[in-house]
Amino acid sequence: MSAASDVRPSGATGEIERYTFRERVMHWFTGITYLYCLATGLAFYSPHLYWLASVLGGGATSRFWHPILGVVFLMGTLWMNNFWHRDMEMTETDRRWLDRVEHYMANRDDLLPSQERFNAGQKLFYWLMLYGALLLLLTGFFLWVPEYIPRQAAWVRPLAVLLHEIAALATIGGFIIHIYMGVFFVPGSMTAITTGWVSRAWARTHHRLWYLRVTGSPPPQE
């Protein structure tokens, strides 16, 4: 369990610290590097989005930084994994939650089991990004320095491109939901990941088990 939760001692609202400074740095570090890779990657992906590369300093510049920031992004996710992997382990509760995810989507949270610090959706997103990043890096490596691929193994080149794109598309899917949830669907999330603090109500609503744990309250009876 993360030690990084605290109850703010003062303040009428009694906010709870959801993300420590380090976690926030981790998040934004990976987030921004991902965004860069996403923007430049999309530029290479589609002629209709090539203007992104132009905005970011031109195609060649984008091509230069994209793999480097890709590696940085992966390092960020690995760093993150170091701290979060235990928080992210899927539990029996998660599975039940996932079985009823349509209630979550329909805002019938009352029909769902209570969640720990991260809910199953967040966990899935986490693992998607982690493995996605690994696959992106693996395939991306071949795209980075294809000049070293021997002629006999030329078939690796298009295969790598294909897998890279599939992996990227998968993370994009997760990413769209992530942004949607963070920015629109779950108010307070953005504050949480920027300031680190959430209201007790927010914590109780979205992560009841975590809330009870960090506030020292007994777990609820099911």
Binding site: H48, Y50, W51, S54, V55, G58
Partner: protein, 192 residues
């Protein structure tokens, strides 16, 4: 040579890009490559290698204006030449590297007897020393008559080696000067 091309590329394709973002990030799609020999000075010459004697065109910078030092920019076959019709072999095609070559000898040098190095020498001094060598050797060894007393007027101690790329006119000067010295060892690449 082709003034319309660049303007076309700039105007035509740029506008398309502009339509994507509303501003023009790229001035042109195609690099406007100018023909590098469009305004060079052409000199007709002959390839110095084999005896096919391909006609070549040496392109030099500038238009022969007074303030230009000619330097080669390109060498290409002469399409008018009936034999090569503009073609060249790999040697002829690389003649520019022969003209513009950092290994060219650029100053007269002398290696003195017993020395282990070259010394620079001025042209005047070199010519004078060579002339003295020629005269000394000639005066010491000139043969006026042979063993049977017949006039032969020959010089057997100085040899001339003519090269394969010496012009006819130069060769005639060599024949004139060497034969007047009495040189019998007058030989040329033509032999070997």
């Amino acid at each position: 040579m082709n003034p319309t091309r660049r303007s076309f590329l700039k105007g035509g394709t740029g506008a398309v890009v502009a339509s994507v973002l509303g501003f023009d990030l790229k001035p042109a799609f195609a690099q406007a490559k100018e023909l590098k020999i469009a305004r060079t000075t052409e000199t007709r010459s002959t390839c110095p290698y084999c005896s096919v004697s391909c006609g070549i065109i040496i392109h030099t910078i500038g238009d022969k204006a007074k303030n230009v030092t000619a330097q080669v920019v390109h060498v290409e076959g002469d399409p008018d030449h009936p034999i090569n019709r503009g073609t060249l072999c790999p040697k002829g095609s690389s003649l520019m590297q022969d003209i513009l070559n950092e290994r060219r000898l650029l100053k007269p040098q002398v290696r003195r007897p017993g020395s282990d190095h070259w010394e620079d020498i001025g042209w005047d001094q070199a010519i004078e020393e060579i002339a003295r060598h020629i005269k000394k050797t000639r005066d010491e060894t000139f043969i006026s008559t042979d063993s049977q007393g017949r006039t032969v007027n020959r010089l057997e101690s100085i040899a001339w080696n003519g090269g394969c790329t010496d012009t006819n006119e130069f060769n005639y000067l060599a024949v004139k000067t060497m034969r007047s010295l009495g040189v019998t060892y007058l030989e040329n690449q033509a032999r070997v």
